[in-house]
Symmetry: C2
Subunit: 198 residues, 2 copies
DNA sequence: ACAAAAACTGACCGATCGGTCAAATGCTGT
DNA sequence: ACAGCATTTGACCGATCGGTCAGTTTTTGT
């Protein structure tokens, strides 16, 4: 679970080498994310990924330190963006944080559909992973923001609902462009959050 | 966990035999559902279940035809109740079906939290199971009902959101009794559904 | 052209998976 | 007491899992 070879090697090599290497790595990550999304992390074997990429299983483990490393590196951009959102929301006041959380969360999910699908597909198993440990805290703070940082249990339940409502659009394909979809998601989520008090 | 098997000697022979058998089966199903809920179906081995029950792996396979059979029988009551809801909604008019769908779905989820958690934890893998094939159709019809049977894509997206919003309360324990929780869920879901058009 | 480095692979490993089976054990009715 | 049935179990099976390694092919710098 330590750093893979790309960190140690590839320092003094030529551009072509780096391109070939990074391209293979990207192909592996693409194939893996697709398979993880439809069959889950545990439901996808290294053999499956190797067959999809068109290489041997050993090649995967030459480029990555293990199956977990593939998963972690695949989720890295999404986790990073989630961290940015987390820090943004931390600086907002209680009366403005809710709408910002909804919009930011919707944007995040729509920007990383595949990653969200993978994460959503095996929440208990993956959030237990050490490399994804901080995600749990970010989720908790996002929930708090969605509830306007209110201690009211009903507000927290509604926040929980919004948390679960957005990622599901990653599963079923929908006949809408992303701008319209984003609008519907934000408006409906806001409707749910407002309905609690009304 | 099977220590008090010899109690109630005065009972009828057939009844006792059947009770012992059905109780062991129930213990297996309870242990399995708990493990499935926290680790997922694929993430739970027969060894894990056997250890939790306190018996051998072979005993599980004496009572059930296989790991899948445990899963199917565990989900059977929930699937049956879902079927009842499905038939109820089928007889409702387009302008009354939405609220009934919300209430019925919320009740269903709250009545079968564990089963919903298990199903929700491995949707793609489990809905592919032959014994759960009809669930997919029921989900589609529930989505249609939640959208008031409207072909409007935005209505269908909101229905999808409600579908995903409810089961998440099964994951995180919440400090509310079921009546209050049911009320919040129904009201917030209705808020999301109404916000679309407003 | 050629040695070194990088990329790749087949063969193999221990562990674990779901599942089978014959034998052992406990319980029941007579 | 005894025959018969239900229940339980350890030993075992083939398949597959993630992962390792020695060796081969391809690419690179000179």
């Amino acid at each position: 679970m330590l750093s893979d070879r790309s960190a140690r090697l590839g320092e003094g090599v030529g551009d072509l080498s780096r391109n070939v290497r990074s391209r293979t790595r990207r192909e592996i990550l693409d194939a893996a994310s697709g398979l993880f999304a439809v069959a889950g992390f545990k439901g996808t074997s290294l053999q499956d990924i190797a067959a999809e990429v068109g290489c041997s299983k050993a090649t995967l483990l030459y480029h990555f330190d293990g199956k977990d490393a593939i998963l972690v590196e695949m989720l890295a951009p999404a986790v990073g963006a989630f961290g940015v959102l987390d820090r943004q929301l931390a600086g907002l006041a209680d009366d403005t944080v809710q709408l910002a959380a909804v919009k930011g969360y919707v944007d995040l999910v729509l920007s990383f559909r595949r990653e969200v699908t993978v994460l959503h597909g095996d929440i208990p198993g993956l959030l237990r992973h050490p490399a994804l440990a901080d995600v749990q805290g970010m989720v908790d703070r996002l929930l708090d923001a969605l509830a306007s940082r209110s201690p009211d249990p009903s507000a927290q339940v509604t926040a929980l609902m919004v948390l679960g409502a957005i990622p599901i659009v990653c599963m079923k394909p929908v006949a809408m462009n992303d701008d319209e979809l984003r609008d519907v998601l934000v408006r409906s989520a806001a409707g749910a959050l407002n309905a609690r008090g009304a």
